[in-house]
């Protein structure tokens, strides 16, 4: 079964299609959830949130396109995991990672969708391996040591690239004009 066919069947309420998605993406979703909940939650919590991701897939299937379901699942897994942390009043990981944008930045006045597009473009315009390091750290909530090990890099190099990524993001989001070309942003 391929993904488009499985989604088509899922839209019709097919149980086997749901199981197919769990077989295909269960480990991936579980990994994303586990990364974010880390040691602050029990194994049962990780299972609960992972199952919630597939319940969301089941309930939302009729509105999904078969284009980037893995990306969709990553967003849902991340969102539900973050919510779980909030529900349990657990401190979000790396809560000190705040960006201070320029006061005259347009970002705050943009609609949510435009803000999301701006952030997406900013992150995806980062050069590699900076982009992957940034996503691993801030999106998947992996620690510096885990990133360093998995990307076979020195931890201090990972930290340096994270710092550069944060600064790049801050500069881009501090732009004054909505229509500025993000690729023209300086990279310090």
């Amino acid at each position: 079964m391929n993904e488009a066919k499985a989604l088509a069947l899922l839209k019709k309420g097919d149980e086997e299609a749901l199981e197919w998605f769990i077989d295909k993406y269960g480990a991936y979703v579980g990994t994303v959830v586990s990364n974010i909940l880390q040691s602050s939650m029990t194994h049962e919590d990780i299972e609960e949130v992972t199952a919630d991701v597939f319940v969301t897939l089941w309930q939302s299937a009729e509105k999904l396109y078969p284009l980037n379901l893995k990306g969709y699942l990553s967003r849902v897994a991340r969102s539900l995991s973050m919510q779980k942390l909030r529900d349990k009043a657990t401190e979000l990981p790396l809560d000190e990672d705040i960006l201070i944008l320029d006061d005259d930045s347009e970002f705050d006045r943009l609609a949510q969708e435009d803000q999301d597009n701006m952030v997406r473009n900013a992150v995806y315009s980062m050069p590699q391996p900076d982009k992957e390091i940034f996503l691993r750290f801030y999106y998947y909530c992996q620690s510096v040591s885990v990133i360093a090990k998995q990307m076979q890099m020195n931890p201090s190099t990972v930290k340096t690239k994270l710092k550069r990524g944060r600064e790049r993001l801050r500069v881009i989001l501090s732009k004054k004009t909505k229509g500025d070309d993000l690729n023209e942003s300086t990279y310090s």
Binding site: K11, G13, D23, V29, T31, T50, W58, K70, Y138
Partner: protein, 317 residues
């Protein structure tokens, strides 16, 4: 202005990072939990149900009205049905649902229609035969588990049919040959309104947002929105082997009528409180529109469904 980087990324979808997957959860445990949660949601909220059509006293009244209309109507849902619910297994009442197995038995008792053509056409017969084969094949998923999730030798030729064994591939070929149909080949194409307009020379549906996939032979399926209603519009080319079907709940809950659109296309319109359906048997294709009423806050009346049909450019389909 202060922004939290984690919050900034809340609405981003990423699949670019190749995470090292850990076996932190068991697939079987997640399946079990997911089904339990779906069952619990099902008993708590009708809107969140998947594929379920309410079988209750209120609908029984509608069904009684629908049955009268139905008996006098030819060429409607009865002409595309794959199954009548009561023929396959006794109905399970919604109130009897206690476990996930009950829920799926209940969902499995729903009626399904062909999106390929009317009863007796080669396209309908082929889809029905495949459905019968598929429903009895690998019921314990052992073959699927052995096949794994990696790409297979059958993906290119049989990608549209969910084939994961030589036996399934042989069955696809057997059915296609039996009914003299061609397979959907050439892989999926991503479609949006712009691509569709380029292909057809004009919009497929006025004022609609559409996106989905299609095959080289012209068969396609797109999801979208028209006038605030979520829709799924599909076209299956005649002479092709297509297997996608649609869950309609209970055919007796629909009011059905024939309608000629302003552009002159003859269509069948079907309306229930959960779903509306447009069917058009055209010269070269069979077109269906599934309006997902239970996923929006608007109701629909007959005039609104007729207006939707008027805005589909059947001449290019």
């Amino acid at each position: 202005m202060k922004v939290h980087i984690h919050e900034l990324l809340n609405n981003i979808e990423d699949s670019s990072v190749n995470l090292e997957e850990q076996n932190v959860v068991s697939s079987e445990r997640i399946k079990e939990l997911t089904k339990m949660k779906i069952t619990n949601n099902n008993s708590g909220s009708k809107r969140s149900k998947k594929g379920a059509v309410t079988v209750c006293i209120a609908v029984a009244v509608v069904a009684a009205l629908g049955a009268a209309t139905y008996a006098a109507f030819g060429g409607g849902l009865d002409s595309v049905l794959f199954n009548k619910a009561s023929e396959e297994q006794p109905p399970i009442a919604e109130s009897d649902i206690k476990t996930s197995d009950d829920y799926f038995a209940y969902a499995g008792n729903l009626e399904y229609i062909s999106l390929q053509g009317y009863t007796g056409t080669p396209e309908y017969l082929a889809a029905k035969e495949w459905r019968q084969f598929e429903s009895g094949y690998d019921t314990d998923f052992k073959i699927l588990e052995a096949a794994g999730n990696d790409t297979s030798e059958w993906d290119d030729k049989y990608g549209a049919y969910g084939v994961y064994s030589q036996e399934m591939a042989d069955k696809v070929d057997e059915i296609a040959a039996k009914y003299d149909l061609t397979l959907h080949e050439g892989g999926l194409e991503d479609l949006d309104e712009k691509v569709l307009e380029e292909k057809f020379g004009q919009t497929v549906m006025n004022d609609a947002l559409l996106g989905g996939y299609g095959y080289k032979d012209g068969t396609f399926s797109v999801d979208g929105e028209f006038d605030g209603y979520p829709i799924q519009l599909g076209r299956v080319m005649k002479g092709t082997f297509d297997t996608v079907y649609l869950n309609i709940g209970s055919s007796s809950s629909y009011e059905e009528w024939n309608y000629t659109t302003k552009s002159g296309a003859n269509v069948t319109l079907c309306l229930s409180k959960d779903k509306a359906i447009i069917l058009a048997d055209l010269e070269n294709s069979f077109v269906s529109v599934n309006v997902l009423l239970r996923f929006c806050d608007k109701t629909m009346d007959k005039a609104q469904l007729e207006n939707m049909a008027d805005n589909i450019n059947f001449a290019v389909l």
